[in-house]
Amino acid sequence: MRERWPVLVFAALMAAIPFVPDVPPFWIVLLDNIGLSALVAMGLVLLTGVGGLTSFGQAAFVGFGAYTTAVLTTAYGVSPWLALPASLAVSGIAAILLGLVTVRLSGHYLPLGTIAWGLGLFYLFSKLEFLGRNDGISAIPPLSIGALKMLDPGTIYYAIWIAVFVSALLTLNLLDSRTGRAIRALRRGHIAAEAFGVQTPRAKLLVFIHAAVLAGLSGWLYAHFQRAVNPTPFGAQAGIEYLFIAVVGGAGYVWGGVLGAAIVVVLKEVLQSYLPLLLHGEGQLEIIVFGILLVALLQLAPTGVWALVMSWLPVKAARKRPDVSLKLSPRERAPHEGGVLLQLEKARKQFGGVVAVNDVSFAVRPREIVALIGPNGAGKSTTFNLITGVLTATSGSISVLGKRLRNPPPQEVVKLGVARTFQHVKLVPDMSVLENVAIGAHLRGHAGPLASMFRLDRTDEAKLFAEAARQIERVGLAEQIDQPAGSLSLGQQRIVEIARALCADPLLLLLDEPAAGLRHMEKQRLAALLRQLRDGGMSVLLVEHDMGFVMDLADRVVVLDFGTKIAEGTPDAIKTNPEVIRAYLGAAA
């Protein structure tokens, strides 16, 4: 559990503000506006800062929320409270439709795509007859509880800030869960996450919907706060401003969204009301100063003001050690009787004219360590990618447990009991070792996003973390368990990847150069671990360049050269094989 008291103190402070005598009403309005922006920015934090999907179009979702309630309450006389679920649903459904198209866009195309539909929807809002065209809709009823009508900024203040706090807590809960870890892994590329069963397109769509629903909530509040809507606040300009808020506050932090909203809203207000007085209203001075201050803020705090403030605080929240006694039930296994675990039959991969893997056949049996060796560029990693479904084979067949794989996605391969590590380490550097390893157990947890938001996933989570902690201990990194994965040495990060793969409860472990970057003693420990795994019933297929390590450890060695298998046999046979010596040392040897 995270420390909750700072949030409670903050909430109490915010609740007390309207009771302070002589608070200018104008301040309350400002705080209302901050809360409304914070809701949208919070969604952007999840979408952009955590998930890595930059959106300029969030203002359009605010518009969906605002217009939905405006139409329902004015034209159909629906109560605002009944219109709330409708507002959220319309924003969410719009996000699904737009998300299905947009989330597929990669790299720079995604932000541009969001600008495109942001502009398009703004245009739509201002042209549709039943939305009042450019004039919008006015005379929207206020929120009311019994006889209390939330007419003035001081009462709706509570509705807005309760929404902010509830949303922040739900969002934080979501991030600190099985689904949240999958989302946090998105920004660092999808291959590693997919290798452990994360459905990355679904995870992306989920954050997209979450952000849109938060924006819709903000729009619903906005409509009942202003009691009128028109297209202007939902245009591209506003969309860019929300992104400002998220980035200035700290795009990786939920509370950064709130802080960013406070900074940007107050800054704009101060500049607009005081600067013209100071400088006798020359031109667009406030926009000049705003632009310069924005750049200055980014230079002072490139990861956001929230991160800067947190780094000043001396206290670091300590995470509770997971209770290792909890047991995660083993993965369901397809029944298999001895036989062959992995069988490659004339597997072939061509990139254009280049044959990276040339009709390679070999097998891995249960309780066996097989090494795949060969000079650089021999096609070893490509073979791994073929087995795990990252690449599709041009021809030939690959079967696991006698079941032929027909170009399955990586998520299906891991379900069969094949887990892997990567030649270029793919961890999420700012997540702790424990959380990184827990991604490996993704498929062994069951809690969905809604359960996570409402903390109904705790027993599931505790078991996942217990399993992760056990595997970390097994590979000998118990002392580093709470450190950010990025702070470990490269060799240790490779070991973290092994722990993550073990979390998937695999039958076959594929290790891509696990010993690279390890010291002698560490290599010996790794070899001991792998033998222990084999004796426990697991098989290991590894790519490795350290011949001493391979020849000591492997039961069998397969040698590739230029994509073709040139030898296979026991380490002793391979050491004296003339073909292998020629491949490694040249023809003269």
């Binding site: 795509g113 920004r187 926009i287 980014l298």
Partner: protein
């Protein structure tokens, strides 16, 4: 019909120049250069002001930014003060813009030849471009594309506001570079449009030679491919960034100077023009120069036709060009693993 194509190609040539500059800056610094539009406006309106015998405010801005850049250099070098280096920084950041300011105020009173005004405008905007990189982006060079993009929007806002301050809300036009005109069949080529074609082609060839043959060009390409690797072999990536911004600002200013005799420019027109260069750059995938140039011509022609047939929707139609291209590109491109940010 043909004159629409001709018109489109003239505009397209300008967009091509801007698109090339955007690609260049993005490749080297990862900055999506939104203030490119301001370089266009500053170049055009500085030239127009000088031609009208007025003193452009941009010259003062260059000096102020230069002094700030010098302060940044001083701060960065506070541990290791070396006189030689400082003197160089002082010369580049303070003496040079000071001299340019003096020259400009001397020029402003009299009616100098067109080419002198063009040269002065280019130098002023070039200085602003280099200092902009030094002040806004060099300290952020290590951050993510998103942070750089937001900083870029901030610079755009500030520079647009300054543009209003310097040049006022009224539009301006400048004198043509060449008055000659020639008729070929149904088409009439003005000296200005020939200058546009000529300079565009000259610039593209010059860029090609620069990147292919010079050490600095190769250093820029190396920085674009791999920042860390470039630094390891001794390339100063901050210098690469400054050169990229220098080129972009000169290209922007030149485009402005080429357009201002044809259309009236306001302090905020540059943004829209820059945006179309941007669309071309996007169609080119922010990496390919020839594709960008082709796309720019397409954008120009589509714009010319749509402004003739459906002028209300001119911008919308041009912008819609993007959507199929975006979809096609991201569906066709394999899922590339993005390392880091």
């Amino acid at each position: 019909m043909l004159f629409l194509v001709q018109d489109g190609i003239t505009n397209g040539a300008i967009y091509a120049l801007l698109g090339l500059a955007l690609v260049l800056v993005f490749a080297v610094t990862r900055v999506i250069l939104i203030p490119q539009g301001e370089f266009v406006t500053y170049g055009a309106l500085t030239y127009a002001s000088l031609s009208a015998g007025q003193m452009p405010g941009t010259a003062k801005l260059a000096l102020v930014m230069g002094i700030a850049a010098f302060a940044f250099d001083l701060f960065a070098a506070r541990r290791l003060l070396r006189w030689q280096k400082l003197a160089r920084a002082f010369a580049v950041n303070v003496v040079l813009p000071g001299a340019v300011l003096a020259l400009t105020s001397w020029l402003a009173g009299r009616h100098s030849p067109v080419l002198v005004n063009v040269g002065a405008s280019l130098v002023i905007v070039a200085l602003i471009g280099v200092f902009l990189y030094r002040l806004a982006f060099q300290p952020l060079a290590h951050t993510s594309v998103l942070v750089l993009l937001i900083a870029s929007v901030g610079c755009h806002l500030a520079m647009q506001g300054l543009g209003l301050l310097f040049f006022g809300a009224e539009g301006q036009r400048g004198p043509a570079l060449a008055d000659a005109a020639a008729t070929l069949g149904p088409l009439r080529f003005t000296g200005q449009s020939i200058a546009v074609y000529g300079l565009t082609v000259a610039f593209i060839v010059a860029l090609w030679l620069f990147f292919g043959l010079t050490v600095y060009g190769k250093a820029l390409r190396a920085t674009a491919v791999n920042r860390l690797g470039a630094r390891l072999v001794g390339i100063r990536t901050s210098l690469s960034g400054q050169i990229a911004f220098l080129l972009a600002s000169v290209i922007g200013a030149l485009s402005g100077i080429l357009i201002v005799p044809i259309t009236t420019l306001y302090y905020d027109t540059g943004f829209l023009i820059g945006l179309k260069g941007f669309i071309a750059a996007i169609i080119g995938g922010l990496v390919s120069y020839p594709l960008t140039a082709m796309a720019a011509l397409l954008v120009g022609v589509v714009e010319a036709f749509s402004s003739f047939y459906a002028s209300n929707f001119k911008e919308v139609i041009v912008f819609t060009l993007l959507i199929p291209v975006l979809l096609l590109r991201s569906l066709a491109a394999p899922a590339v693993e993005e390392e880091g940010d």
